[in-house]
Symmetry: C2
Subunit: 190 residues, 2 copies
């Protein structure tokens, strides 16, 4: 997605340790016009009318998923990162290791909001080692629902997550794939 | 907002301990059509063209703020609930006590995304004792920015938050105000 790549070049910053910061437009401050274009592009890449739900994970996936959902006309469900006293009843549960925060956390989703009749599109902002996405796919499988695909805004193509997901036969669409990253610059996969 | 009140009556559930669960349409599963109407209503109640930013707090405020922002044509910034290695540079910082989770957490916002030129509308899903909202107002004051108001989806009118905020002269608009809650039922303030 050319508009997104141009924005990453213009406003993204690369930090030592393979950290790409896009917090001025994607995941701390959010440029809603850009995210609207991202939502339209996800719809173009996942035109299926079978999709019944968009699944994401808190926190930075939520806004993108909500804007995108307007083009799919389906509800968003977001998985939560820790046990809450406000989640009652049965929950789907998995564990996810965070690349960013260097820790393992519990991810839960109320069973009320995903079942075997659902056809699910996962949307998230980043894909790196794939742990968060694989956790969400685990939850979909646990629900007996159908995985329609995964839409990612920025994939770090030099980490293993994308390859693992594609090898599992998942329809994965990443709107910008970083091919190489040094401490000061990056290139995109064509 | 009549549509919202009707939805709370239809799909909300009241639990002992003054817990109102609206997780089937507002803050776990999200009904995007309803949230779009909520966004339009916030715009109607805050018609000022001075607003430069919408501020919310992760996680459940983000989707609502993003959908609403489409009617204001301004970016969303969301405060984060814990220190992250991905927040660099200077941050605004406050502490918030969570009614839901019974704990105090740190809330931070990168100084890059809020300054004295900003006119800020705060948007969040719930207002109860007001701690989260007052934390966000603290951050706006710390930035030297102007508070244009606060838009809340559901206010628990029998808790003190709304009263404190209004007494401070803040333009507060809550789309549904719960007047009374028992363990099994609720009434709205007219």
């Amino acid at each position: 997605m050319q508009l997104l790549k141009e924005r990453i070049v213009k406003d993204g910053t690369v930090k030592p340790g393979n950290v790409l910061k896009v917090d001025s437009f994607l995941n701390h401050q959010m440029d809603i016009d850009l995210i609207n274009e991202i939502g339209k592009e996800f719809r173009r890449r996942f035109p299926s009318d079978k999709i019944t739900k968009i699944l994401t994970i808190e926190a930075s996936g939520i806004g993108i998923a909500c804007i995108a959902a307007q083009y799919f006309h389906v509800p968003v469900v977001f998985a939560k990162k820790a046990q809450s006293i406000n989640i009652d009843g049965e929950v789907y549960h998995t564990k996810v290791e965070s690349f960013t925060h260097k820790k393992v956390y519990d991810v839960i989703l109320s069973k009320k909001f995903l079942d075997a009749d659902d056809h699910v599109l996962v949307i998230d902002d980043f894909l790196a080692n794939g742990c968060a996405l694989m956790g969400l796919l685990d939850i979909i499988k646990e629900a007996g629902a159908t995985i329609e695909g995964a839409g990612i805004v920025v994939e770090k193509g030099f980490q293993q997550g994308g390859q693992i997901i594609r090898q599992n036969g998942i329809h994965l669409e990443s709107l910008a794939i970083i091919e190489t990253m040094t401490d000061t610059s990056l290139t995109f996969r064509e």
